[in-house]
């Protein structure tokens, strides 16, 4: 797996650029990851990111949009507004997690 440097952090990533080590992520890095894909983080973004991080720690897999909405309480419409076009993947990228595997 490749190693890359983002905003002074040396991190392991997969071939697409998603972080592969849960512990290598921190909130400062999230700001840098978001900036790479043209997003500046607001409190609303952070609510989704923190839910995703916590849920991954509890469940061992990245939550799908449906789970973020039903369990995390953030409406799907908001997720599309916060992370346009590909919310599940962009959110996972910024949160330093793998892409979700679930179909729905």
């Amino acid at each position: 797996m490749p190693v890359t440097t983002i905003d002074g952090h040396t991190v392991d990533v997969d071939p697409e650029g998603f972080l592969t080590e849960y512990a290598e992520w921190d909130e400062e890095l999230a700001e840098a990851l978001a900036a790479q894909i043209g997003i500046s983080l607001t409190d609303e973004h952070w609510k989704a990111i923190r839910f995703l991080r916590q849920d991954y720690a509890d469940q061992g897999e990245t939550a799908t949009l449906r789970r973020i909405s039903t369990v995390g309480g953030i409406p799907i419409k908001s997720l599309f507004a916060l992370f346009p076009q590909k919310p599940a993947k962009k959110l996972a990228y910024v949160a330093g997690l793998p892409k979700p595997h679930g179909c729905v």
Partner: protein, 170 residues
């Protein structure tokens, strides 16, 4: 925001090819098992930033008709993929039992039921269209349909709206 070194790898989320992509799904079947493929694929496409239009026609009209959308059924009759003797499929109560089982299997995967799935597709930016001929044949109007259906349109209107789209017929 400063980056010390140029990042080696950033996912290419918003390529021109992906943002220009458009998908049209024609849902022509109204059984529970045949409603889901269209809904799941629509949901997946929307999550990838693909503009998605669904056209509900013939039996598929049941998916957006308020009276039937929450009560679609599944029957093993004529479906060899259930690997049950075909004679069993026609016995009283078998469709009910098979439907309950399929509903439970779907719910166990945290996949929503049909009305809630339509909510999710609309919230994700999906477009729902009813077929004019199906509405006329069944004497139904927009009043009878799921409220987020954008309109009852003719087949040619749908073809026009989905110019350049990739198309799935289910």
């Amino acid at each position: 925001m400063s980056t010390d070194t140029a990042p080696a790898i950033v996912p290419s989320f918003d390529t021109e090819a992906s943002t220009a992509r458009k998908l049209a799904i024609i849902c022509s079947k109204g059984s529970l098992d045949m409603a889901y493929p269209g809904l799941i694929l629509a949901n997946a496409a929307l999550g990838e930033g693909v503009e998605t239009h669904l056209f509900f026609t013939f039996w598929g009209f049941d998916i957006i008709t308020r009276r039937t959308m929450g009560d679609l059924k599944f029957t093993p009759l004529g479906n060899t993929a259930t690997h049950m003797p075909q004679g069993l499929g026609g016995l009283p109560g078998v469709t009910h039992m098979a439907t309950s089982r399929l509903r439970k299997a779907i719910a166990d995967l945290d996949v929503p039921d049909v009305p809630e799935f339509l909510d999710q597709i609309v919230a994700s930016g999906g477009h729902l269209w009813g077929c004019r001929m199906s509405a006329d044949m069944n004497h139904l109007t927009e009043e009878d349909l799921y409220e987020e259906v954008e309109g009852i349109i003719s087949a040619s209107d749908f073809i026009e709206k989905t110019e350049g789209a990739q198309l799935l017929f289910i």
